[in-house]
Symmetry: C2
Subunit: 437 residues, 2 copies
């Protein structure tokens, strides 16, 4: 049994310094849980000088060259927290090849290189842990990979991005438009100066691809995720949701296993007030896993922030260290990966939803008849029509008509949308939001 | 590496037959995850004949004597699913002593004998897993024990009992009284003929004691849990909650680590509509874990039922089997137990809450002045008073006054309650419900 487990940390930004903080704060407890002393032996960051700075653990060597960490033969575990594609991917691969176990929070490299990374880890019989890559402090990777291991997974859905959830919460609760709510999110530190990655759903797409890969046992490529962001959501839609449809709007990542394959997408959706997702506010995340035995299990918590993410990283370190101590780390892979299990991806056009369609039209007789006629010809049937709300009228600069459809095929709805947008009575392009069932 | 992991199942009731079902249904997937074949080799149940009956796996030996299972040298894992105190405790202890790893769903023996059981397991270097003992299919034990291992736990709270949550949901949504809702629950199969164990909060007390023991690393005795059931909740309270206080009522288990020790209790509480617990309906459970780094993490899912509980049991079997295969099971204990870490229990009188107090009084001038005078003398200050709702008047058979207090000490409130119940203007005993902050 080893008496020490030595860690090398690459990336000493927000999460990295949080990891150092937790390791120091709860040192005795960590050591008790691991059965050995956890030593943060090396810290690497390009912005650090060669001497220990503020927040650096006493006794940790400091370097600006990640190769010194990866090639240090005294280290057991390398923690990669620099984010982005490169050099992160190279670092993780080099560390695994050099006989280190790796903990990472990097959803970008995981979703883009899942197959390569786990093939490499399993070939070297080394472990790659990544709890912090999805859902911040929520132990969702472990729950899906282990706690629900007895289940065939039927669907995974979630509010996976804190920035967009913060923006939608502001829009709903303060009546702000997207641009105003985005500014608030930037002021509050919940959105980047360039928010594209979050508001266009790219971050959420990475995360749902990771969750789907775990559930599948194969590899779901991030580029196969259908993706739509939230910048087209208007206050009138949130108002209609609340006042008429008893619903709110959330950006969801959804992976559904159906007969014809895997449906995997990121888009905004109307969510009933009675669904647990409806109470998920601000920067919180939630993930719902539907298993054939457990039923639906929901995990909820802070999806972002220094300490929640660092909590997930340190939990990974503890599991890994426990196995390092008794010399069994890597004897069984953490994630089972078999390329042949990668599922067929169902094209978006083949999906079925109920839809919220908002049209802005001229105020002339017969408009509704023309629109519903187009929908009928496309095979989209209508469940309800809302045409009478003063606020909506005022806010949308025209006559607003909201239609809720019965379940319809995406392809049919898009065809109808195209035709209706071309009608002379249409004053703006149709707004379309899918409804979560 | 072993090629087979042999299981003995004791107790072939609802959950036991669910376990057999899942093991058969997903045999290939289970074997892939374990790296060996899982074999349900023996099934023991007092009500079984000596031949395989319906639902019994092909090839499994059948016995009515648990000693044959515990003493079978070919078995690796014993699964105890008979429930209750005895012979369950004896079986689990005998199995651990005979060199078996054990999976159990038995919250009664765990909460009553935590210290003895984990001392025994750790001494024999064998593992005792118990995911199904709390929260049905929700992997909450694992999340608290491993996924949040990097955190000092500050509070664990939860809707831990499906029966009482079903009853409270019926009372709220159908306006039924307790007796009517209990009958519905019995009809729907969510309550026993003798519902005491559930409605008096005993089951929830077992579960919060288990969660607190894990979080503490010591042992929290079930008899130290302050306990109050739901049979005194009236429809008027749920109505007041909904109409005036934007709240609902849930039976909660709560463990809070404060400076002076551990507060641990089970009682009904008013929960804001905006709290995620408010959307937990019917037989669903939810657990909120508040860690110093992760913040609040909530897990939600089916708290009862054959397959959810069986899902948790089989997940335990998979973890265990993976370790059995490579020969490392028991090298590190699953739960760390150190008697010296058992916390001081804070007496209920020392706790602080906000309170909902409902009084039924005569309709005379000066009543409110007398009551608020008593509260003031006891040091309980009032945040709001509700005295004007027709329905409440009608439903409670008197003049109803509802008072919401500021935070007050339990001892002071109980003293005031005693004094007010003794006033000549009081027509009934005061109803008291604590408010979740």
């Amino acid at each position: 049994m080893k008496s020490h487990v030595r860690l090398g940390l690459i990336g000493f930004g927000t999460v990295g310094s949080g990891v150092a903080k937790i390791l120091q704060r709860h040192a005795d407890e960590m050591n008790r849980r691991c059965g050995a002393r956890l030593q943060l032996a090396v810290v690497c960051d390009r912005s650090l000088g060669s001497r220990s700075g503020a927040g650096l653990p006493a006794g940790a060597r400091v370097t600006r060259d990640w190769k010194e960490v990866v090639n240090d033969p005294t280290l057991d575990i390398v923690i990669e927290l620099i984010g982005g594609y490169e050099p992160a991917r190279t670092i993780v691969e080099a560390a695994l090849s050099a006989g280190k176990h790796v903990v990472t929070a990097n959803k970008a490299i995981l979703s883009k290189h899942w197959g390569e990374l786990f093939t490499l880890a399993n070939r070297h019989r080394h472990l790659l842990y990544f709890e912090a890559s999805v859902g911040g402090g929520i132990p969702v990777i472990q729950a899906l990979n282990e706690g629900l291991a007895a289940n065939r997974i039927e669907r995974v859905s979630g509010i996976l991005n804190g920035t967009t959830n913060y923006i939608l919460t502001r829009m709903e609760e303060q009546g702000e438009d997207f641009a105003g709510a985005l500014k608030d999110a930037q002021k509050a530190g919940f959105a980047e100066a360039d928010p594209t990655f979050d508001v266009e759903g790219i971050d959420a797409a990475h995360k749902i691809a990771i969750l789907a890969s775990i559930a599948t046992g194969g590899w779901v490529h991030v580029q196969d995720v259908y993706r739509e962001g939230i910048s087209h959501i208007e206050p009138v839609d949130l108002l209609m949701g609340r006042e008429r449809l008893d619903s709110t709007i959330k950006l969801l990542g959804i992976a559904s296993w159906i007969k014809s394959g895997l449906e995997i997408r990121v888009h905004p959706a109307l969510v009933s007030r009675h669904h647990p997702f409806a109470t998920v506010r601000n920067e919180y995340n939630a993930v719902c896993v539907e298993g054939d035995s457990a039923g639906d299990v929901i995990l909820y918590g802070k999806g972002a922030g220094q300490l929640p993410a660092a909590s997930a990283v340190v939990s990974d370190i503890i599991f890994l260290a426990r196995q390092v101590v008794i010399g069994t780390a890597g004897e069984i892979p953490y994630v089972t990966y078999d390329h042949s299990r990668s599922p067929r991806i169902v094209p978006m056009e083949e999906s079925w939803y109920r839809y919220y369609l908002r049209l802005t039209t001229t105020d002339r007789p017969g408009v509704l008849a023309r629109i519903t006629g187009v929908l009928a010809r496309c095979g989209v049937s209508i469940a309800s029509v809302y045409q009478d709300v003063k606020e909506q009228h005022r806010m949308s600069g025209g006559v607003s008509i909201v239609l809720i459809t019965h379940r319809a095929r995406e392809e049919s709805v898009q065809k109808a949308r195209h035709l209706i947008d071309g009608l002379t009575v249409s004053r703006k392009k149709m707004a379309l939001i899918r409804i979560l069932d």
